[in-house]
Subunit: 172 residues, 2 copies
């Protein structure tokens, strides 16, 4: 069930591309953009500003999903989650929540205060809203008809408390 | 009063950098980012996706201000205005509104439906809000404490009607 999380490596690229294509909710342009960020990560690593991790199945080392996030330019402590995708044949097993939890923890370690996810209102049919809700994200803002007529941009966000701070506040 | 608008050229770069530095409301990182987009435009032109124009004084060909805008990735017909700046010694003479009007018309010609401007709540003290209001932009969304604690991201926007469509609608 629970996978093994590690930084994305070159050998994972084809598997991630396959997941993006089979996910069904990404247009060819979106898949190309996602792959550009992955290639920036593979070429420049941490310097690319697109941190990219995969979750692989524990036993088989097969990639089940991936996440790509990074610091938002010109901000202090705000991070964007750019892409998250799980193999459609292995959904509902917690890989997505595992990737999201890892992202939160990593962003917190890097001093992040805010984790934001921009998504299309067309993709919030189905399970997407519930997925973010369950992980503690709230709807922060909406830009009507941003992507195309009838397709809004939704900005979900979660405030991150620095490690240790949350528990300390209980002692006051 | 009214200037001459043309695409930014290499010989304008120093003047624009000087305006950005003297504008007083841009941090060194923001100036560096603005210059990166300008250099993308100087290197790749229209292919850079950062369309960059200057307004120069009519008689002297001295640069008074500049604007940088472009299509928002993964959208159909949404454009972002990334930077707009006017020489602080020549403000209040309509150069800013002229740059904004040109941007609107150019975006409309390119089939744009939406022109968006993301800005810091710290910069809306003073004349910025009035500047956008006067040009017909409305506040669309706000992300609290986006840039840093106490500094929100504000998204202003203006819906663009295709040339000819607005007047036709009066005949119905």
């Amino acid at each position: 069930m629970s996978g093994r999380l590690r930084a994305l490596e070159r050998r994972d690229r084809d598997a991630v591309e396959d997941i993006l294509r089979r996910a069904g909710n990404f247009t060819p342009t979106e898949v190309a953009t996602a792959l550009e960020l992955i290639d920036a990560w593979l070429t420049r690593g941490d310097a690319s500003e697109y941190l990219t991790y995969v979750v692989a199945a524990l036993e088989e080392d097969a990639v089940r999903g991936y996440v790509c996030f990074g610091p938002a330019p010109l901000t202090e402590g705000t991070f964007d989650l750019y892409w998250i995708a799980v193999d459609p044949d292995f959904q509902g097993r917690g890989y997505g929540q595992e990737l999201l939890r890892f992202t939160e923890e990593d962003v917190r370690r890097r001093g992040g205060r805010w984790l934001l996810i921009e998504t299309s209102s067309q993709e919030t049919y189905g399970d997407t809203t519930r997925f973010y809700d369950r992980a503690g994200f709230g709807l922060i803002a909406r830009v009507p008809e941003y992507y195309r007529p009838g397709d809004d941009k939704l900005i979900y966000g979660k405030r991150l408390v620095r490690a240790g701070l949350a528990s300390n506040s209980h002692t006051i």
